[in-house]
Point group: C2
C-alpha cells in the first residue's frame, strides 16, 4: 500500500465527477473514505465504483479532513455546515472560485475565528468534458496543479492537511491567495471558456458546406465550448468581477479590429492588423510548456501513416526502440481519406536522429 501524507478518515461531501475522483484516488491509496451526496443514486454509484463508503448522517464520525465537492452555488453553505458539525476537522472545498466562497463563509454569523481557522479553500485544476460519478477516475489529478488558498486566519496544520490531500492525489501544489487565484483562473480558464463558446455560437446557423471545410484551427478553438452550462454559469457568475475587465479588454481589441476591417484599404489598416496578430503571437508564446518547460520547447516531426489498426502503434514502437521519448503526439484530422498525418513532438536535440531512424525504417517522414 502506498504511503500517504493524510491519515484519514476523510469525508467527501458531494459525489460528482470531482468528489468521486477524490474518493477513488484516496481509497486506492488505502485511506478510509466516507461519502455523502444529496442524490442517493450519485452516492451509490460512487460507493459501487470504489470511491468510499456511504456515511449515514447522524452516525458518529470524526474525520481528519472534510472535502466539500459541491457545486459552486452551495459550496459556502456546505463548508459552513461542515465546520460547525465536525469541530476537530480541517474543511477544504475544491470549487473553481475562491474569493466569494471565503467571504460567504466568513459572513455567516455562526462562524467564529476558530471555525474559520480550520477552513482552507483549494482548487484542483482538473476536469473532464464529461460529468457525474461514473466518469470519475482516481488519477484525475495526477500531475495537475492544485491551488491552495490559505487565508490570513488559516491554521498551519489545516493548511498542511489541505496540501497533503493534493500531494496524496499526485497533484502539484501551487500557493496563492484567493484574490490572485480568482484573477488567474479568470484569465487562463474562465476567459478561454467564454471565448470558445462565443466562437462556437457563430456556427449555429452556418451552412453544411462551410462546416465541411473545418480544420484543426476551428476544432481546437471550440473544443471546450462543449462544456457543461450548468456548472459554468455558476463559475462565471461567481467570478464575474475578475472576468469582466478581461472581456472589456477583448471588446476594445474587437472594436478596433472591426473598424480596421471595415475599411481595409485605409492608411495604417495593415499595420493595425499586424499589431493585433503580433500581440497574439507574443501572448501565445508566454504560455509555459509541458512539465513547466519553456514554451515551444519541443521539435515537431510529421509522419504519414495508413489509417488502419496498428500503424500508429508500430510507428511509436519504432520511436521507442530508438530510445527517443514522445513528448506529445497529435493525429491530424482529415476528411474522406484513409491516410493520416501524425505529429510527434520530441526534444529538439533528438529531432534529426528521429528523422534518420524513421526514414531508414521506411516511414514516410514529411520533413
Amino acid at each position: 500500500m502506498p504511503t500517504t501524507h493524510l491519515a484519514g478518515p476523510i469525508l467527501v461531501i458531494g459525489t460528482g465527477l470531482l468528489g468521486t475522483s477524490v474518493g477513488l484516488g484516496l481509497s486506492q491509496r488505502g485511506l478510509n473514505v466516507w461519502l455523502i451526496d444529496p442524490s442517493p443514486s450519485a452516492q451509490t454509484v460512487a460507493q459501487d465504483i470504489g470511491a468510499g463508503t456511504i456515511h449515514v448522517p447522524g452516525r458518529p464520525l470524526a474525520p481528519e479532513l472534510v472535502v466539500v465537492a459541491a457545486p459552486p452555488d452551495v459550496t459556502a453553505a456546505v463548508v459552513t455546515q461542515a465546520l460547525l458539525e465536525y469541530p476537530m476537522s480541517t474543511v477544504v472545498d475544491i470549487a473553481s472560485v475562491k474569493g466569494s466562497i471565503l467571504e460567504a463563509v466568513r459572513a455567516d454569523a455562526r462562524i467564529t475565528d476558530e471555525h474559520l481557522a480550520r477552513y482552507v479553500g483549494t482548487h484542483p485544476m482538473a476536469g473532464r468534458e464529461r460529468s457525474g460519478p461514473a466518469s470519475a477516475r482516481g488519477e484525475l489529478f495526477t500531475s495537475m496543479p492544485w491551488v491552495i488558498c490559505a487565508h490570513a486566519g488559516s491554521r498551519g496544520d489545516s493548511v498542511k492537511t489541505a496540501e497533503a490531500l493534493a500531494i496524496d492525489l499526485g497533484a502539484t501544489v501551487s500557493r496563492m491567495n484567493a484574490q490572485d487565484h480568482d484573477s488567474s483562473v479568470a484569465l487562463i480558464s474562465h476567459f478561454p471558456q467564454v471565448a470558445s463558446s462565443l466562437i462556437a455560437s457563430r456556427l449555429l446557423n452556418a451552412p453544411g458546406h462551410s462546416l465541411a471545410l473545418a480544420g484543426n484551427g476551428l476544432r481546437d478553438t471550440t473544443r471546450i465550448a462543449a462544456s457543461d452550462p450548468k456548472l459554468w454559469i455558476q463559475i462565471l457568475s461567481h467570478n464575474a468581477g475578475a472576468l469582466v475587465p478581461i472581456l472589456r479588454g477583448m471588446r476594445e481589441d474587437l472594436d478596433r479590429l472591426v473598424a480596421t476591417l471595415s475599411d481595409p484599404t485605409a492608411s495604417g489598416a495593415l499595420l493595425d492588423l499586424a499589431q493585433l496578430m503580433g500581440e497574439g503571437n507574443a501572448g501565445q508564446a508566454r504560455i509555459p510548456g509541458k512539465h513547466g518547460a519553456p514554451p515551444q520547447a519541443f521539435a515537431l516531426v510529421t509522419i504519414v501513416v495508413k489509417d488502419k489498426p496498428g500503424q500508429v502503434a508500430k510507428l511509436l514502437a519504432d520511436i521507442g526502440d530508438a530510445g527517443i521519448n514522445v513528448e506529445d503526439l497529435r493525429v491530424e484530422h482529415s476528411a474522406g481519406h484513409q491516410v493520416g498525418l501524425v505529429d510527434v513532438s520530441v526534444i529538439p536535440g533528438r529531432r534529426e536522429e528521429l528523422i534518420t531512424v524513421l526514414s531508414a525504417l521506411g516511414w514516410k517522414v514529411a520533413q
Copy 2:
C-alpha cells in the same frame, strides 16, 4: 511510378511552403515540374529538395498547368501575367481568398473572355504553423479538402485540370463558387484565427503565476495565435467583407455577456449565461468529425502512462495487437510531474473491449 491525372509539365510560380509542397508532391509522382520564385534563394532551396527544376524566364515552356502560389496580395497580378504569357495553359491559384482575386483578374483590361476561361481559382485547406520552402512536404495536401472555385466563364477542361491537380496530390475535391468559398473560410478559418489572436493578446501582461496554471483549454484556444502575421494580414484584408459581419455577431454576444456579468445577481442573468453556453454547445456539436464522420463519433479511453521512452509506443502496440484502430490520440499536458495521461479515441463499439484488453495487460485505465 504512380499514375497521375495530370500529364505535365507543370509550372509552379512561387516556392514558399505551399508552392514547394505542390512541386514536391507532383515530382514525387513522376511529373515534370518547373519552378519560379522572385527570390533566388527560395527557388534554389525548392529545387534542391526535389520540388522541380528552376525555369529560366524567356526559355520556351508550354505547361499544361501553371500553379500560382504567390502571397494573396500579388496573386491576381501573377495570374494575369501567366494567362497572357502561357496562352495554351490552364492557370490556377491556391490563395486562401477567391472573390477579390477573380474580380481583379477580370478587371484587367488585357484579359479577354478567352484568357479568363483558362483561369480557375482553387484553395487547398492545408498549411503549417511554419513557412518557407524548407518546411514543405509532398504529403501536405493528403486527405485535406481542396476547394475548386470554377467561375461562370471557366472552360470545362481547365476545371478538370484544376481538379486533377488536387486529386494527384491526394486531396479531397470540394466544389463551390468564390463567394460561398469566401464566406465559408471567413467562418471556419479566418474568424477562429482572429478570435485566437484576441484571446492570446490578453496574456501579454499576465502574471507568471497565472500562466503557470494554464491547461489544455487555454493551449487549444490559442494554438493558432502563433500563426504568421505577414500572411494573415493579407488574408484578413482581402476577405474583410465576409469577416466583418461574423465579428459584429460576436461583438453583440460579447456586449450582452459583459452586461450580464456586470450584474450577475440580476433577474435573468443566469438564464442568459446558460443560453450563451448552450449556443456554444450546439454550435460546437455541428463540426463534422474525422473522415466526415458525425460529430463526436468516437469513444474516449484514458490511460495513465509513465512519461519515459517507449511507454506510449508500448501502449499503442498493445492496442494494435488487439486489432483496434486508434482514431485519435492526445497526450495530456501537465506541469512538474513525469506521469502523463493518454486519451485514445476509438469507435464506440470497441471501447469496452479496449478497456478489458488494456486492463488485462496491466495498463492503468482511468475509466
